[in-house]
Symmetry: C2
Subunit: 189 residues, 2 copies
Amino acid sequence: MHEIFKSYLTGQIKLTNEQWQLVFRLWKPTVTKRGEVLLQKGKVSHNTYFVVKGCLGIFLSGDDGHEYTRFLVFEGKFGSAFPSFTTRKPSAASILSIEASQILLLNYRDHQYLLDHIPGWERLFRINLEKEYIYSIQRIESLISMDAKRRYEILLEQNPKLIQRLPSKIVAGYLGISQETLSRLKSKK
Amino acid sequence: MHEIFKSYLTGQIKLTNEQWQLVFRLWKPTVTKRGEVLLQKGKVSHNTYFVVKGCLGIFLSGDDGHEYTRFLVFEGKFGSAFPSFTTRKPSAASILSIEASQILLLNYRDHQYLLDHIPGWERLFRINLEKEYIYSIQRIESLISMDAKRRYEILLEQNPKLIQRLPSKIVAGYLGISQETLSRLKSKK
DNA sequence: TAACAACGTTGACAAATGTCACTAAATCAA
DNA sequence: TTGATTTAGTGACATTTGTCAACGTTGTTA
């Protein structure tokens, strides 16, 4: 798994062999089963993740029992219950392994250690943060300015694999609409 | 203005006098009038801002002529048309001075210069980025999982000054609802 | 294989929200 | 001040979306 990890990061950062060994030691490989819970809501998230294979989902469960999809993490991406991991406060969201997955995880202390001790790591992290922030801004834009149909069309255009790959329940939660509405959007057009 | 800027940042970063002088030289003070346009949509945003006094708004204009409020920047906060500023691509949003304001602005090249040459500046920037990202995640949560009434109640609770201070047109755009719906929410409860 | 659970679709209806038109109130400039 | 412009509130109605229930399909597991 570490070699795949390294190949994703090459181009983003240049490290010596010793530094890679340190990075590998802190990012711990794990495999998960489909449906496995990595974080329960209400608990502090102590880990951040990198997905080598498979898919993680970060979910909000509403008071009404509905599940909303806050974020999805596919191969080659970092993901976490970011607000909880960063602030050390209980998480509003839970993390589930949507598919059987191979992931790497890094705990909070080791995360800080890398930021402090690997030159360039803070930049790598910052640039990934910028990308995620931009993505979240675009999501806010679509949520405040478009109706469900346009949001779906745009998702279909920009991220078709997401729709093909995931159960429509999760896609609906991601778009902020009910499963039934999504089903109707699909059949209409 | 620079002294106020410095007082906001003290606690976040420790710099020598020479370093502060450099920072002050690059962050250029400007005053704006109410309604002044700082960035037109479709143009690349070359500046990032710090608001000393007043308020900036980052707006999306929909095809239908509606204006949506992507972000608001009050005293003591950084703000920009982030996706455009970061990627150097044309901005989907425009930036307006909502009130007559005193601001500092930093262009892209100087931004990179500070990241590269002031030790600790990248960390300062990264930590501010984390806060903004968390805020945007919480906004996504409220947009996908709550109806307009609850979003308004929560905004009223967490950010009452925003509602008091700004025209309700802008507040409605921020919540992703029409002005009329906001007006009805206000009167109902 | 059989039984059971999860998922996706559809209809009927209810609730939320948008649109348009109009009026009242506030703001601003001359 | 006056007149003009912007902004806020409200009613009537249309549209979107949610909710609940039913049903068939798929997938899982004993």
